[in-house]
Amino acid sequence: MSQTAKTFPRVSLSNPLVNNLIRYLLMILLALLLFGIILLVTGKDPIQSYRDIFSATLGSTYGFSEVLLAMIPMLLTALAVALPARVGLINVGGEGQVYIGAAFATWGALAFQNKPAWILLPLMTLLGMIGGALWAFVPGYLKSIGLVNETIATLLMNSIAPKIVGFLIFGFWHSPMDTVKTDNFVSAARLPTFFDTRVHLGFVFALVLLALFWFIMKYTRWGLEMRAIGGNAQAARRNGIPLKGYLVTVMCIGGAIAGLAGMAQVSGFYGVLLLNFSMGLGFMGFLICWLAGGDPIGIFLMSFVVAVITTGGNLLQLTQGLPYAVINILLALALFVVLASPRFFEGKKA
């Protein structure tokens, strides 16, 4: 990304940015157009639908805060993919890591529910990160000793994690009323929210981690070594960089960030652990990270766009009588359009 810009100084800095923005807007327009046609075919009013989406998201302060709320898990799960990608690891396992992180955090919330918030919340955060890290350790370790490809391993472990959560909820944690979820968390186990919105502390976590990621990659020795591994792992190893240690550690940190997303969802968003609560958050993070080329600012912008679409979908369901899942079409069309345009963000990681 930035390296290419530096090695080829003939490209002025502002032009590609403006170009990218224009291309980006055109792509969104194309996706909106395609989805509008689909809406027309099914007999809905596309103009009114888009007006609804807009007013539900960017048209009011509350709507905007809902968009920020939806961004939280996306930012975190995208970061959980971006960091391992820097050393060439493909972490498709965000989905599983989110579940296990949420399960660990829930254990903390249920087991220590009479503790005050200043003990309980840090504990849950730590537990969530440990859970995600453990779930990522297995594929990371298997990869580092050259046994199993991390893409395959993380993908398989995605399918295991929700079932373990199901086992825990059904077997031990379910509330007396309902077998598909736990009791509501005590208020000390809920992440504090800002003002009168539902945006919770997880947003700050996500922003701090994004900034930290950018800083570490750019200004520290670790970042340099990670980029070296991502560039040529064998060359990096021969230069004395501890390759295996990096692979396992970076994968675990990625998992920990995804686990934090899980913790933020159960503690900040739902306030309860639900069966199958994630519904593709980890996969969404992978897509966002990939589309953003692993770049922190790109991740932020992409998450924002995706969050606007998914938040708007809620209203579409109410006003147009469409199933909520239909908004996934608009989302996918936007993704298709971006995927179909090569070199959208320079130097994207494969």
Partner: protein, 305 residues
């Protein structure tokens, strides 16, 4: 525990495993050509919903079957365009296709939630006509089940005994070499993806038209990802996919068997067995090159530019 209950469990394993087998066979073809399709879940959903809709409209399950297969093939063409023509990342494109399938199937299926259909007719297994009614009904399968093992053999034959199959595997191993030996990697990958979509469509049709005979949102419940896991489990070989599909659906059957004999094991934990088994199998191979994935799986073919 009676013989009847064991046979009943076996029968239900066959019923639930058939959609998996077709999907897996399709994905074997796709991955052998070098394309991993994480959007299988979406393809299945679109096929299942449109097949069901066509069955409701026409009243003919065979037309529904045909529609599901064709739609499956066409949906896969979206992935084909992105990863072959536009050289997009396969994992990301597949996941985008999955979200597309979630949405489109919900839109297609919405008017038909709760609709009733005549499913695919059941034909008794030959040679069971002399048995009591109870047993015959357990083993009267629809046409897709009867054809499932022949289809696996056919896929094996296509992949390993025809020139086209040889070309397809060559493209999956090394597209540049295949190109140098006079094959068109892009065309072959499109063909493989279409065939793969057809088979996935048949699997989806079995789910909605023959097995459950209804449509509910997200009815595939992860079968697409199971199929991807199964392809790895069966080491990219169609005949081993039969065993794999039986192991996966057998876990469900095993759970019913345990329950009927009074042993309480969480169904959730039993559901994880196939995945854990797949990971263990992968570890057991220990990165052995001969047994592993097609070499250029997931790679972009850039052509001669």
């Amino acid at each position: 525990m009676s013989l009847l209950s064991i046979l009943g469990v076996l029968s239900s394993a066959i019923f639930s495993g058939t959609s998996l087998l077709y999907t897996t066979l399709g994905e074997v073809i796709g991955q052998r050509s070098g394309i991993v399709n994480l959007g299988l879940e979406g393809v299945l959903l679109v096929s299942a919903s449109s097949g069901f809709a066509v069955t409701v409209i026409t009243g003919n399950p065979f037309l529904g079957l045909l529609a599901a297969a064709l739609i499956g093939g066409l949906t896969n063409m979206i992935l084909g365009y992105l990863v072959i023509h536009r050289k997009a990342n396969q994992l990301a494109s597949g996941l985008a296709l999955m979200f597309f399938g979630f949405g489109l199937s919900a839109l297609i299926g919405k008017p038909y939630v709760g609709a009733r259909i005549n499913g695919l007719p059941r034909i008794p297994l030959p040679g069971t006509s002399g048995l009591p009614q109870l047993y015959t009904s357990l083993f009267s399968f629809d046409i897709l089940i009867h054809l499932s093992i022949p289809t696996a053999i056919l896929v094996w034959w296509i992949l390993f005994r025809t020139r086209w199959g040889l070309g397809l595997r060559a493209v999956g191993e090394n597209a540049d070499t295949a190109f140098a030996s006079g094959r068109d990697p892009r065309l072959i990958r499109y063909q493989a993806l279409f065939l793969s979509g057809l088979l996935a469509g048949l699997g989806a049709a079995h789910l909605s038209i023959a097995y459950t005979m209804n449509w509910t949102e997200y009815m595939t419940a992860g079968r697409g990802f199971i199929a991807v896991a199964l392809v790895i489990f069966s080491r990219w070989h169609p005949m081993r996919a039969i065993v794999g599909a039986l192991v996966f659906s057998g876990a469900v059957a095993f759970q019913l068997l345990l329950q009927s004999s009074g042993v309480q094991v969480s169904p959730f934990l039993l559901d994880t067995i196939p995945y854990v088994l797949t990971i263990l199998v992968l570890i057991a191979w220990g990165g052995n090159r001969r047994q592993s994935a097609p070499a250029s799986l997931g790679c972009v073919y850039h052509g001669t530019e």
